[in-house]
């Protein structure tokens, strides 16, 4: 196949990626969009194989092993484990970019200056993505401690590594030192990925995954620069843009800056400072029957699910409860805070898995104005995202973080084990409100009691 023809077919593939992403703008068309993108990838792979031949054992073995592992992981993963899986896939993508650039360098160890720059960038960015993603993977699935991990020299070590990387990059461009320099860059990239992610707390992982997603895209683009292939450059840029947008959304939803997430080791010092300071103000504890009556005779209920719901595996019971309420003519909707899971949009996937219709799921800005006209706000497994202190108390450490205004509903109901503060270790004044009911207990058990009580109404 002529080079022009294959370049044109790669362009078709890239266009299919863009069409595919465009169809993700609605849940109704999203699935076909993903299939379009997959078709684009299949076309690109077939064209490449036609050109380079599939004689090499590396190609056949790689395709078989990679497809098998990928399909196995995709089929077996639990929806709660999605963040780890995406982190791992990110890592593989970054690793592949490193390998492509390294193999290219091996075949042509004395390339032009601009090629060596892109090789170095591809290797460094890919290596950071690889090791950083697998650190995030370990933190998310509990194989590594989730707490932020700070060490005294931390603030010195990272800048030192970065400075060394820049210095070695300059050496490469000036053509001194040879291949040793590139391999050192690879190792330093790997180290930087580890030292960069280790100090970040588990709660901030959604930001880290999004950012590494952007990195994996940029790494693919850089690999495209190395082998001079526009399809890679375009696709990588698309993914880089997507990762950056998601990172930005996450950071805003947490009222932080990217720098703050990356460098503050949040959650360690702060939570020990204020942790456990529950006030003595009275709270209204309610029984499942009380709550069932309040909800059963309401006109509208908004459910605010948090990650605690998923931890307790209570999504299905929640859906049952919502079905019962709807059968009684209650309007039930779900308000999803952007950080209500372990990655952007995670809670929506968990609810979709429990068969909740997607037109019932609302983003913060779309539903927040409706709370004053809502009879009951039911909060399950969420805490900081409904803390009115973030809106009203300028001295609160989470002041300014966008919250769901559940306290504006006629009644708010919080299902929670105890009054203990949430992840950020901040007391929640919502619990002591006049119009708030506390239903103490494990999310799943409490919901099951609620289902029973509502059914008996």
């Amino acid at each position: 196949m002529s080079q022009e023809l294959s370049a044109l077919i790669y362009l078709v593939a890239a266009a299919l990626f863009i069409f595919g992403l465009k169809r993700l703008s609605s849940p109704a068309t999203a699935r076909s969009g993903n299939q379009l993108a997959a078709a684009g990838m299949a076309i690109a792979i077939i064209v490449t194989l036609t050109n380079s031949g599939i004689s090499a054992w590396t190609i056949i073995a790689g395709i078989i092993v990679g497809s098998g592992v990928g399909a196995y992981l995709a089929r077996t993963v639990e929806m709660t484990g999605m963040p780890e899986l995406v982190a791992a896939f990110n890592g593989f993508g970054g690793g592949a970019s490193v390998m492509v650039a390294s193999a290219e360098y091996l075949q042509n160890p004395d390339p032009a200056v601009q090629t060596i720059v892109t090789i170095a960038l591809s290797v460094v960015i890919g290596a950071i993505t690889f090791s950083g993603s697998f650190m995030a993977w370990g933190k998310l699935n509990g194989k590594l401690p989730g707490q932020p991990f700070g060490y005294p020299a931390q603030k010195l070590i990272d800048p030192l590594i970065v400075a060394t990387i820049v210095f070695l990059g300059v050496m490469l461009v000036l053509d001194v030192g040879g291949s040793f320099v590139l391999w050192t860059l690879l190792v330093l990239g790997l180290v930087l990925g580890v030292t960069r992610v280790i100090p970040i707390g588990g709660a901030d992982m959604p930001v880290v995954i999004s950012l590494l997603n952007a990195f994996s895209g940029v790494a693919a683009s850089m690999a495209g620069f190395v082998i001079n292939e526009n399809a890679l450059i375009i696709s990588g840029a698309l993914v880089g843009a997507s990762g950056l947008i998601l990172t930005n959304i996450m950071v805003k939803a947490m009222n932080r800056s990217i720098a703050n997430v990356l460098f503050a080791a949040f959650g360690g010092a702060d939570s020990t400072g204020q942790g456990g300071t529950t006030s003595d103000k009275p709270v209204k504890a309610a029984s499942a029957e009380d709550v069932a009556i309040t909800m059963g005779y309401a006109r509208s209920v908004i459910v605010v699910p948090g990650y605690g719901l998923a931890v307790a595996q209570a999504q299905h019971v929640l859906r049952e409860l919502a079905d019962l309420l709807e059968a009684k003519g209650v309007d039930v909707r779900y308000a999803i805070h952007p950080v209500a899971g372990r990655m952007p949009g995670h809670m929506n996937v968990l609810l979709a898995e429990a068969d909740v219709s997607y037109d019932k799921l609302f983003a913060l800005e779309d539903i927040n104005g409706d709370f004053p006209r809502t009879d009951v706000a039911l909060i399950v497994g969420a805490n900081d995202v409904v803390n009115p202190a973030a809106r009203d108390d300028e001295t609160s450490p989470i002041f300014g973080m966008p919250i769901l205004d559940v306290d504006f509903a006629t009644t708010s109901v919080v299902i929670k084990r105890s009054l203990s503060p949430g992840f950020a270790g901040i007391d929640n004044p919502l619990f002591y409100n006049e119009n708030n009911l506390m239903l103490f207990g494990d999310a799943k058990a409490a919901m099951q009691e609620l289902v029973k009580a509502v059914a008996e109404l």
């Binding site: 849940p27 993108a37 590396t58 790689g62 395709i63």
Partner: protein, 93 residues
């Protein structure tokens, strides 16, 4: 000049990405991430190209690892995205 063209393509594609992706609703952000992740597995093309011309053992090993990793990324990413999107249904009532 080649590099300049590549940079041009990169910048323009990034703009297209920003335009398209800001229109994705928060409900679909997880599938967006896993799907775009699969798209970044396009490195598979680079992996296949370097695998096709590898001429040393080290080169072959690197190429094999590259093809494997990129393939996990591509196949796993698209399949898991499909699995998620299949669950997003609108219930008629």
């Amino acid at each position: 000049m080649e590099l300049v063209i590549s940079i041009t393509v990169f910048v323009l594609a990034a703009f297209v990405g920003f335009e398209v992706i800001t229109k994705v609703p928060p409900t679909l952000h997880t599938p967006l991430m896993s799907g775009s992740n699969a798209i970044s597995g396009v490195t598979i093309i680079g992996a296949l190209i370097v695998a096709g011309k590898a001429d040393s053992t080290l080169g072959e090993v690197l190429a094999f690892v590259a093809v494997t990793m990129a393939m996990i990324n591509v196949i796993g990413g698209f399949l898991v995205t499909d699995r998620m999107l299949e669950m997003f249904k609108k219930k008629e009532r």
